[in-house]
């Protein structure tokens, strides 16, 4: 039996929606954010509309049952039922949307806020546009020295950072669960792999309080490390972060 076009369209939409929920929430165990799912579905609806209406025949098949529902005298009963249910459904939906809940409002975090052109830490002014890791050069010039610097950076990390960022640098340290926003996961391709070392220096040295306004609401518990670490220690720990995760810092060389 051939499924009516209108039902096909509805099934496609339901299927895609269910598919997203099934794949992300159940199979992959990573819930799909509802804000994103709504936008996804909006464009899936647009795409479905396009496929089902680009030809006259198909449009006719989609429209005719709806037309019949509204105009056909023989469908009076069904019409009355639909006309009662639809407003009720929208009323219920609207109520669900606006009823007060205990859920805190959605918060946005700009993960990589734009850095200032220069930053004042350790009593000096650093130009973030040109700031480079002074130890990076040893990677090529003196690999042995580089390895020992990375080791020292590792010590700094273990003594200071791993409590939150985790011993695997995955943001799952012993204290991580108690923090919101949770500590960054450096293993993620979207974090340090996207950034320059100067950016990391800025973020480490000035911590949560040093974030620009545009990155709020931002209650980051990241300490202002310039008060606890020396400049060299910060550079070393940056070496360690990249070394351990295997990422290369972003560079801006114009090729």
């Amino acid at each position: 039996m051939k499924i009516p076009r209108l039902l096909q369209a509805i099934l496609v939409l339901g299927g895609v929606y269910g598919g997203f929920v099934l794949v992300f929430d159940v199979i992959l165990e990573q819930v799909i954010p509802s804000s994103l799912l709504n936008m996804y579905m909006f464009f899936v609806v647009a795409g479905t509309y396009m496929v089902f209406t680009f030809s006259e025949e198909s449009t006719e098949q989609i429209v005719s049952p709806i037309k019949a529902l509204v105009e056909d005298p023989s469908k009076k009963m069904l019409r009355n039922v639909v006309f009662v249910l639809l407003p009720l459904f929208f009323g219920w939906f609207t109520y669900q949307q606006i009823k007060p809940s205990f859920e805190a409002p959605l918060e946005l975090r700009t993960i990589h806020p734009a850095p200032p052109a220069a930053v004042k830490v350790f009593g000096k002014r650093y130009n973030l546009l040109t700031l480079e890791n002074p130890f990076r050069k040893f990677e090529k010039e003196d690999p042995e020295k580089f390895a020992s610097l990375v080791r020292e950076g590792g010590d700094v990390y273990v003594k200071n950072c791993q409590y939150c960022h985790g011993d695997k640098l995955d943001g799952q340290g012993p204290y991580a669960q108690g923090l919101s926003p949770v500590p960054l996961n450096f293993q993620d391709v979207g974090t340090i792999a996207q950034l320059q070392e100067g950016y990391l220096f800025w973020r480490i040295a000035t911590g949560g309080p040093g974030l620009p306004k545009e990155a709020t609401p931002w209650l980051s518990a990241m300490p202002v490390w310039e008060d606890f670490l020396t400049e060299d220690e910060i550079w070393k720990v940056i070496l360690f972060l990249y070394d351990y995760t295997g990422y290369q810092p972003r560079s801006w060389e114009h090729e």
């Binding site: 936008m39 009593g123 306004k213 545009e214």
Partner: protein, 269 residues
């Protein structure tokens, strides 16, 4: 016409959808306002702002009020302009100033050009001023800052302001500068930072309004020295007045600086 309205309606709906999405569909972020200009922008300064700058320098970086206060260590600031004309024509006047502004400038960079009676260095018979050249040394005011002070002095004494705001921006520091400094290592730098040498003899500085610190370690122990830095009025050395030394150094100095200073002084024997 119906087609026309339909098309218009459709277009307006489209625009409304885009606008609605931009306003409500994405998180609202207010961009940060433009940063305050850090450097004092002399070119865009009004005279009132320039005068206010003078006031700030006088109270802050210039450390003028350390002596020019009602303790009688130096002439009162508000007396300077009213008496200037008299001083310019005084037979003891050794400077080259022609008018008020020049006189004020001279009195800051070459204080000994004229010493108000009773305020000279001990034993110099009012020929040498105890005041340092404020454009150099530990105070180091820039020319625009000096001019700002002159403007402030003229203005607050009710005289016409005759200085012009310099167009070539010199190095004018804001007060924040001090707050964001890092702890200093060298005790002499610390002394310079806080202007100790203006009154004390320390290192190369030859102040004579307060006890000589060059061999202080021989007579005072660490506890006494630390206390004297933090609470200068707790015990006053004989021959010196109470209330002369600023008592807020504890708030201004880093703890490590107090320690370094104490160590340094205790070691001066």
């Amino acid at each position: 016409m119906k087609q026309f309205l339909a098309v218009i309606g459709f277009s307006l709906l489209t625009i409304a959808a885009f606008t609605g999405y931009s306003n409500f569909g994405i998180p609202r972020i207010e961009p940060a306002p433009p940063p305050k200009q850090e450097k004092i922008d002399l070119g865009s300064m009004t005279m009132d702002q320039f005068i206010a700058l003078g006031d700030r320098v006088l109270n802050g970086k210039g450390t003028c009020k350390l002596c020019h206060n009602d303790l009688g260590r130096a002439p009162m600031i508000k007396q300077i302009v009213p008496n200037a004309e008299k001083h310019l024509t005084d037979s003891r006047y050794k400077g080259e100033a022609k008018d008020l502004a020049e006189y004020l400038m001279e009195s800051m960079v070459n204080p000994s050009a004229f010493v108000v009676a009773g305020f000279g260095k001990a034993g110099s018979n009012d020929t040498v001023s105890p005041m340092p050249d404020v454009s150099g040394g530990s105070i180091g005011l820039s020319e625009p800052e000096l001019l700002a002070i002159i403007a402030y002095l003229q203005d607050s004494a009710g005289a016409d302001v005759t200085v012009e705001i310099p167009t070539d921006a010199g190095d004018v520091a804001e007060e924040e500068e001090a707050e964001e400094r890092e702890p200093l290592e060298d005790p002499l730098e610390i002394a310079a930072e806080f202007g100790c040498g203006t009154c004390h003899k320390i290192g190369e500085e030859e102040g004579d309004l307060a006890p000589d610190l060059r061999t202080i370690g021989a007579t005072r122990d660490r506890e006494f020295l630390r206390r004297s830095i933090l609470y200068p009025n707790a015990e006053i050395t004989e021959g010196f007045e109470e209330g002369m030394m600023p008592d807020d150094l504890g708030d201004q100095m880093f703890a490590v600086e107090v320690e370094r200073m104490t160590d340094y002084l205790a070691g001066l024997k």
